[in-house]
């Protein structure tokens, strides 16, 4: 009658092996979509590398790289409909781009510009810095969507480390009690800054945490874009019917936690190398090349085009007027309080010396 810790067996969903060979069955996906998934991964990778470089040059602020997590982000976000919502943390910019958040504005965000918050109509919630807090906003959003009959699913992105927070727990519990159209998409990238997944929680998988909430859970190879996309499609179907879902996408943070972090302090190069072999782009590329719908030539052109897009976005950001201290008083309340009016005026006072 004891439910022993590791009684639960979880089997990871995988379509492509490390070399991009289809493992089992056929995936229900068009060639166009396959190519599009890959193109988006290229775009995200190129963006990521440039952002890293720009940060090193001091042209943007602290940045949290996505290197290695492109499949998880692109595969999940491409499966969404326009009416669906993303509730991201700081490391889901790739997913946000796929869902329509303008790259230019993310650059503005990293430059500390108020306009960086503008989604220009995409259903993307502001980037959350507080670990797991967005999970609850996604719950409320899913609730509103259901109440207003929007047929919209809310997707909360959170990391393996985020599963330890109380807000994660409370969010899953609420979601399941109220049967909300929501997906908790955990990017298990094996690390939370310097803390490995095994020290974050003693459960063998993150997917099995769904059991605590009477919710469906699934573990998917997060570096296999096809598997992520397909699983996400299934999850969306469940969620749209009011059956919330927990997805664990097993992936790897190839880079540092952020540009302020030095992973050589705490992790082995060997581990990194093992995961590089499972790189999501490499795998998908091999698959579509083998399938005859992609080529080395296309590939180079795509990288070039992606570089170009990033450059354009950055240039636009660079030429956007800087935020001014006077502006910030406008965004605290619907109407400025007397205190804020006074303080706003004081900003313009004359210098003493």
């Amino acid at each position: 009658m004891w439910l022993e810790p590791n009684e639960i067996k979880v089997k990871m969903v995988q379509y492509l092996d490390e070399n991009g060979r289809l493992i089992s069955g056929e995936a229900d996906i068009t060639d166009e979509e396959l190519v599009s998934l890959y193109k988006w991964m290229v775009q995200v990778r190129v963006f990521d590398q440039r952002a890293l470089k720009l940060q090193r040059q001091g042209r943007i602020g602290t940045y949290a790289p996505m290197l290695g997590q492109e499949a998880a982000q692109v595969g999940s976000a491409r499966a969404l409909g326009k009416q669906d919502w993303i509730y991201p943390s700081y490391r889901e910019v790739g997913a946000c781009f796929v869902h329509g958040f303008p790259m230019k504005n993310f650059f503005l965000y990293t430059m500390g510009n108020l306009r960086g918050a503008d989604t220009e109509g995409a259903n993307v919630f502001p980037i959350q810095i507080i670990i797991a807090a967005q999970c609850l906003h996604a719950v409320g959003g899913a609730w509103a969507g259901k109440y207003n009959k929007e047929n919209s699913v809310s997707v909360a992105y959170v990391g393996d480390g985020g599963t330890s927070e109380g807000d994660f727990h409370e969010a899953l519990n609420f979601a399941s009690v109220y049967k909300l159209p929501i997906i908790f998409f955990v990017q298990n990238n094996q690390w939370a800054i310097s803390v490995p997944r095994t020290k974050q929680t003693a459960s063998k998988t993150i997917a099995q945490k769904a059991v605590a909430y009477g919710m469906a859970g699934i573990q998917v190879d997060g570096n296999d874009c096809l598997a992520v996309y397909t699983t996400m499609k299934q999850a969306l179907e469940r969620a749209r019917q009011g059956n919330p879902v927990l997805i664990e996408a097993v992936t790897y943070r190839q880079g540092p936690h952020t540009t302020a972090d030095d992973p050589t302090k705490y992790r082995d190069l060997q581990e990194l190398e093992q995961w590089m072999a499972k790189d999501p782009l490499k795998r998908m590329k091999a698959f579509i090349v083998e399938k005859g719908i992609w080529s080395e030539e296309f590939d180079q052109a795509e990288f070039t085009a992606a570089e170009q897009k990033v450059t354009e976005a950055f240039e636009l950001a660079l030429h956007t007027p800087k935020s001014k201290i006077e502006e910030i008083f406008e965004f605290v309340y619907e109407q400025k309080t007397n205190q804020l009016i006074e303080q706003q005026q004081a900003v313009a006072a004359e210098e003493v010396f």
Binding site: A133, L136, A144, D167, E334
Partner: protein, 326 residues
């Protein structure tokens, strides 16, 4: 115009606002069938159904965080925190989320939500059921804090809070829920958020207070006026954040003396801000120090001594005496 208690006025307001706007949704612990532990939501689930009057699991961070998520997507949630002392559990969702999403989104997203919570002591509750923590939220930009002291104000202020486009913390003095009745119009009216109420005009001393201590201060002031021949102006602040500076300052400029009475503990409390404000902007009108009568700087104590710990008649008397010593 019917006479009603504050709890009845609150219940009526919720009903009216839910009738008026179907985006208004109530959520909280035990607010459904049970109608709330103080009966603030009594009967509302019968009227509006389980979709609009929602019992939640016990998770305050989730209650506030869910309300934030709802509000950001167009609903107008009214969440109840069963007792204000439990707000600590939701502090991030209050001060770092609800309060900052407008800012974080560059003004794109509003979070029009109300967090209701009973607060205040004097009724021998268990631990952490009586704390006055409004000071924490006065120091949290992006939130508004409203604290009514009468049935009439409760209805007008709660109506205003629900229609407000900012997150409002609405604190209900639990000792006053059923303490007295007052005529309250059934029809629509609003008491403006951010405006203090000069409850009574006077010449020699300004007493600034709010919520639970208002009736107490009125009583004490009346005694002083009758026994000591002094004239006391009483300001019921009504809104703790933003503070109505103008009303406070013009009163103190007239009377030259100020006393602040609140149930929050003294150090670092709202009384400090009010005192600092007067000092900053009306110092030369003062005939003597600004005195604060507040709860002592200890955790809210055991029930048997709470009446001595809270600002009671005797302590307010001593405060007034001190002000008049100069």
């Amino acid at each position: 115009m019917p006479a009603m208690t504050m709890i009845e006025a609150i219940n009526l307001t919720l009903r009216k606002e839910m009738e008026r706007d179907e985006r208004v949704i109530c959520l909280g612990e035990d607010i459904g069938k049970n109608g709330g532990v103080f009966r603030a939501t009594d009967g509302l689930q019968d009227l509006f159904g389980e979709d609009r009057v929602v019992d939640t699991p016990i998770a305050e961070s989730a209650i506030v965080g869910t309300a934030v998520g709802m509000a950001a997507r167009g609903l107008r949630p009214v969440a109840e925190i069963q007792f204000f002392g439990f707000i600590y559990e939701a502090m991030d969702q209050m001060a770092a989320q609800a309060a900052r999403i407008r800012f974080r989104s560059g003004g794109r997203i509003r979070v029009p939500l109300v967090i209701r919570a009973p607060y205040g002591g004097g009724v021998k509750t268990p631990e952490l059921h009586s704390d006055s923590l409004e000071g924490l939220f006065l120091h949290s930009p992006g939130l508004k804090v409203v604290m009514p002291s009468s049935p009439y104000d409760a209805k007008g202020l709660l109506t205003a809070a629900i229609r407000n486009h900012d997150p409002v913390l609405f604190l209900e003095p639990l000792k006053l829920y059923r303490a007295f009745k007052q005529e309250v119009p059934e029809q629509d009216y609003i008491v403006e958020i951010g405006k203090a109420n000069v409850l009574k005009e006077g010449e020699d001393l300004t007493i600034i207070t709010w919520g639970q201590t208002v009736p107490l201060v009125s009583k004490v002031a009346a005694m002083w006026e009758s026994k000591k021949n002094v004239s006391i102006e009483i300001i019921d602040l009504r809104t703790i954040s933003p503070i109505d500076e103008e009303t406070i300052l013009s009163s103190v400029q007239k009377t030259g003396r100020a006393l602040i009475v609140h149930e929050a503990v003294k150090t670092g409390g709202p009384g400090a801000e009010i005192s600092a404000l007067i000092n900053e902007k009306a110092l030369f009108h003062l005939s003597g120090p600004i005195i604060r009568v507040a709860s002592f700087d200890t955790p809210y104590p055991i029930a048997s001594v709470e009446d001595a710990w809270l600002p009671n008649e005797e302590r307010i008397n001593r405060g007034i005496q001190e002000v008049f010593a100069h």
